[in-house]
């Protein structure tokens, strides 16, 4: 039925459609036909992390656990950054919500599954309530509002001392599975957080690849068109912020179990900024990048202390982050993906 008579740019067209074009677009957008490959890469990295953690020292295992937990929080950050393009500086606050909910419910004798169910319910409710005013903001104002939340968390923790233990902190009752106490350096904890990361990463990839992702990208990148074409922009934005809160809270609950003790100095604004740095360095559209970012900000600072003097760890960590930024806007995850695809695309072009 085409009435087209104009060939806009035939040379470009040759590589735009077809498998090569779709692969190239997929590498740029983080969606599309590379989805199975991305899932496979996440599984391979999971196997590597498990092999390193199960075969390594308890210190290394603990670092990998914390890094993977941070990666889960980064997945939440990425959901917002990749679709709406908004900066979330409250990821640490979301973690605090999950951590204290888990710690409080466990301290009241709740079973671990019930405590996690409470984390899910509380984070969805609180996340949605926080999102309602937040989604009315854009750009720097979103960053400022989330910064304010993150900034207030230590004081809020003290103010709610009946639940959080205030300055004195709150000990987390560690679960016992079989005869084993599950803490941050236990193999069971490593397996649990790695499996949890894989499941949440797969869910994130699928949501981003399918209709919810397409709708959110339209809302974030073409807001007037999204609105005119009937997308419920506000509801979609609230949904993605709630999803990010949920992932942050799950990460927080795992963190509470891993470290065994919570106090107001943990969930500071610095943690939120570190998680944002992890998002940017790893690449907001890559689950591999989320893991890299989580390990960088969660595991690297404590581990470089064994290599460089303690007084220089901050500088070394900063330099590592700066070097990672050379990977470009797609982050290290995007860079690795593009490099892996290069031979395939070159072959198809030829």
């Amino acid at each position: 039925m085409s009435v087209s008579t104009v060939d806009h740019q035939p040379a470009a067209t040759a590589t735009m459609n077809g498998r090569a074009g779709r692969l190239r677009a997929s590498a740029v957008t983080g969606r599309g036909p590379l989805l199975p490959g991305r899932l496979a890469v996440a599984a391979v990295v999971a196997a590597i992390v498990l092999a390193l953690g199960l075969g390594g020292t308890s210190t290394l295992r603990y670092s990998l656990v914390i890094g993977t937990i941070f990666a889960i929080a980064i997945l939440g950050n990425n959901a917002i950054l990749a679709t709406l393009g908004e900066i979330n500086l409250a990821a640490g606050a979301f973690m605090a919500l999950g951590a204290y909910t888990a710690a409080y419910t466990l301290s009241k004798g709740w079973a671990l599954p019930a405590a996690f169910a409470a984390v899910v319910v509380v984070s969805i409710v609180v996340g949605a309530l926080l999102a309602i005013p937040t989604v009315r903001l854009h750009g720097l104002f979103t960053a400022l509002a989330t910064f304010a939340l993150a900034y207030a968390i230590p004081d809020l923790t003290i103010a709610l001392s009946g639940v959080t233990g205030g300055d004195a902190g709150l000990a987390v009752t560690p679960p016992i599975v079989g005869d084993t106490l599950v803490d941050g350096s236990s193999t069971l904890m490593l397996v649990a957080v790695v499996v949890l990361f894989l499941v949440l990463a797969a869910a994130s990839l699928l949501l981003f690849d399918r209709r919810p992702g397409a709708s959110l990208l339209a809302v974030g990148e073409a807001p007037h068109a999204a609105s005119s074409f009937g997308l419920r922009s506000t509801l979609l934005k609230i949904s993605v912020w709630t999803w990010a809160t949920l992932l942050g809270a799950i990460a927080g609950a795992c963190y509470a179990l891993a470290v065994g003790f919570l106090n107001p100095t943990i969930f500071t604004v610095f943690l939120s900024i570190s998680l944002l740095a992890g998002s940017l360095v790893g690449g907001s559209r890559s689950v591999l990048g989320a893991w890299i970012g989580g390990l960088l900000v969660g595991a690297l600072p404590s581990n470089i202390q064994s290599i460089v003097p303690a007084s220089a760890t901050g500088a070394v960590f900063g330099i590592v982050l700066l070097l990672a930024l050379l990977a470009g806007s797609g982050g290290l995850g995007g860079l690795i993906e593009r490099q892996a695809l290069r031979p395939m695309l070159a072959r198809r072009k030829a």
Binding site: V3, S4, V6, G21, L217, F229, L231
Partner: protein, 260 residues
Amino acid sequence: MSSTDPLLAGRDIHMTFGGVRALKGVEVALRPGSRLGLIGPNGSGKTTLLNVLSGVYRATAGQVVFGGRDITRLAPGARGRIGIVRTFQHPQLAKSLTVRENVELGARLSRHVHGRRRRRGDDAAKAAEALEHFGCGAYADGLPEEVPYGVRKMAEIARVAAVEAPVVLLDEPAAGLSREERDELIAAIRTLNEQRPDTAMCLVEHDVRLVASLCDELLVLATGEMLAHGPTPEVLRDERVRAAYLGEQGHETEIREEVG
């Protein structure tokens, strides 16, 4: 509602931005099958009127009515869902969605507008059909930033066409297109109009040749006021219109050619 009743109407529309009165008592009516061209010099209020009709702006005073229902306070999304769709002066395509996925937004809206139970695969088929119709099929898997500007403009119109909406508002669809692309656009819109004769179309455009080719009725705005309104040939011969908007020598020549 009889076939002569307006499907979409703006009644005594006023729009003020700070101290600037962008629209002053404008009346517009789109009946099923209307092909209305909205012309006027830069800053005359054409796009503002389109924004008021599509819900991007809420009129300072006046009423917007769709199918007899007052929709003045209805948000743009809700207007989209009842079948008022539009394009934008600058293409509004999500850069991380392929051209095909952008057009599928229109196909998805089509299900809301018509209340049809369609499978999702049908959205893809409808989007593909619209893409082919507007000559973008070869670029369907490309990202908007990779394709020529003309393709982006056409893809926006394809997205609107995929809705099969009762009201279509086109904001300068030919801006930035080459002469050949404009001819292609005219042919594609004509074919669509033939296929869906009941669709009401409002077209904002500076290209008089294009407007004269596609519209049987013109509304001319000047500094936010209605200068002339009527059948296209009459309006184009109107001395006031020539003086206010089309008075330049080049335009006069063009109009004589169009009007014959």
